[in-house]
């Protein structure tokens, strides 16, 4: 089984960790986020420290610094996705263009709701709009 190491860090450690990993030539596998059972946002930056994954978690923050200046598109694409679908703000990230959502949803209530709202509520909200 592949090894997965969870490491909890503070918001101020996100950039130093990314800089260290980049310097060591480690791949940023992915940036994930979800609402934990307490309803707080759990964001994780997963680095391939082969053969393990080192997963650095920040819990309870919805505004965090971008690491896209360190990891380029490997970071900016997942950051843009998490902004659109979960409403997390990445300070310093260029959000002038959409990634997944239609242009007309960027400034509306649709943004940031996809993973926050229960599926039943989403269905109710979109009732009659489905083709």
């Amino acid at each position: 089984m592949q090894e997965y190491k969870r490491i909890d860090i503070g918001k101020d450690q996100i950039v130093p960790v990314a800089e260290r990993m980049r310097k060591e030539g480690k791949y940023l596998v992915m940036i994930h986020a979800f609402l934990n059972k307490e309803g707080a946002v759990d964001i994780s930056w997963d680095y391939a420290v082969d053969p393990a994954i080192e997963s650095y978690h920040v819990v309870g923050e919805t505004v965090v610094p971008t690491v896209s200046d360190i990891y380029d598109t490997a970071a900016s694409w997942p950051e843009r996705e998490l902004n659109e679908l979960l409403g997390i703000e990445f300070e310093g990230l260029d959000m002038s263009k959409r990634l997944f959502l239609p242009e007309d949803m960027l400034e509306t209530e649709g943004k940031g709701q996809i993973f926050v709202m229960p599926l039943s509520e989403l269905r109710e909200k979109n009732a009659g709009k489905e083709e």
């Binding site: 596998v29 391939a48 053969p51 490997a74």
Partner: protein, 360 residues
């Protein structure tokens, strides 16, 4: 004269949706942007209402080409959270299916690449040989796509002795046509003129932008999850990771051709040493224990990762799927710069993109 040329989102090069904007000076592309999201189906969200067995069926529908890779990776994540050991025979069958999938995926892409450059006789030749693999997959699983070979705790279908011999014979029979395809790919003037020096991604840029799979290996980056973080039974097999340094479209053709040989080697070793015993551990419908993990698999296009969070219930609390095209597609604008408009379709297709995977 400067123009902005829109390409897509309807089938710009492959039969999948992506929108590209090319900022050109005459025929030369000076800058480019890509836009995705035309095939977003909310699969991650749907997974939060599915149990583990239903999710296997769901994640197989992320992609028609690498469907087994998604089921394989999701199953590994749940097995890691629940501490489930997969019987060795089940592991081998998963690997055999994964490598057959890689073979058909690489041959499919090589055929399409030839079609895009106008070499249609080569396209038909490659796809004809690919049918051999598709037939084997059909005999193995009953399907040409969405094989449903994986269950939590092992594989769903066994390989009989007759089928074992048939797959071995099929792999042996593929070698001669593969030699011919590789020889043509390496020596044909048409292929060389259309692909050499086109859409270059340097090793430094590949690492910086996080390129993965054959796309990264064609830029000289030797990464492969099967070697870097061995999983399932990949440790049991001897195989190489081919790399090419030039980083152009030609290198991407060569890497994929060479990888086909390595997949054949793995399949042959797995079939010749197929362990006796059960193919799964009889799990029916597991509750996904409280926990979180990331499982990684080297899919045909590169590293595929599934992050699964369990909360002790039958359903997933969160499934986050990240596919190789997610890392490789952002390199496209970079590769398009200073190439001609005529090569744009080929360059977009050269990463073997899967926007169905990317959008989920």
């Amino acid at each position: 004269m400067s123009y902005i040329i829109p390409i897509g989102p309807y089938h710009p090069s492959l039969e999948e949706p992506i929108h590209a904007k090319l900022y050109t000076e005459g025929e030369v592309i000076k800058d480019a942007e890509v836009f995705v999201g035309y095939n977003h189906r909310g699969i991650e969200k749907l997974a939060t209402e599915r149990n583990a067995i239903q999710t296997l069926v769901l994640v197989e529908r992320v992609c028609g080409i690498c469907s087994h890779s998604h089921a394989f990776t999701y199953a590994m994540a749940v097995e890691a959270i629940n501490q489930i050991e997969v019987p060795k025979r089940g592991q081998y069958i998963r690997v055999i299916t994964a490598e057959l999938e890689r073979l058909h995926s690489h041959l499919l892409w090589m055929g399409i690449a030839c079609h895009i450059i106008g070499h249609d006789s080569m396209f038909m030749h490659i796809w004809d040989e690919r049918e051999l693999i598709m037939d084997l997959l059909e005999k193995l699983s009953g399907n040409r796509v969405n094989y449903a070979m994986v269950t939590i705790g092992g594989s769903r279908r066994d390989i009989s002795d007759d089928l074992r011999k048939e797959i071995l014979e099929g792999c042996a029979a593929l070698k001669a046509p593969l030699d011919r395809i590789t020889e043509i790919a390496l020596t044909d003037k048409t292929i060389a003129m259309r692909t050499k020096g086109v859409g270059v991604l340097t090793k430094e840029d590949a690492i910086r932008m996080g390129a993965v799979g054959p796309h990264a290996r064609a830029s000289g980056v030797k990464i492969d999850v099967r070697k870097d973080a061995p999983y399932s039974s990949y440790d049991d097999f001897e195989f190489d990771i081919p790399t090419v340094e030039s980083g152009d479209v030609f290198a991407r053709v060569v890497v994929r051709a060479l990888e086909c040989y390595e997949s054949i080697k793995i399949i042959q070793q797995a079939l010749e040493n197929l362990p006796e015993g059960p193919i799964n551990n009889g799990n029916k419908l597991p509750k996904i224990k409280e926990g979180q993990t990331v499982a990684r698999h080297e899919a045909p296009r590169g590293q595929l990762s599934h992050m699964v969070v369990g909360n002790g219930s039958l359903t997933n609390h969160r499934v986050s799927i990240h596919v190789p095209s997610y890392k490789n597609t952002p390199t496209v604008p970079h590769m398009l710069r200073n190439n001609t408009v005529a090569d744009a379709g080929l360059i977009i297709a050269s990463i073997d993109p899967c926007f169905s995977c990317l959008d989920r």
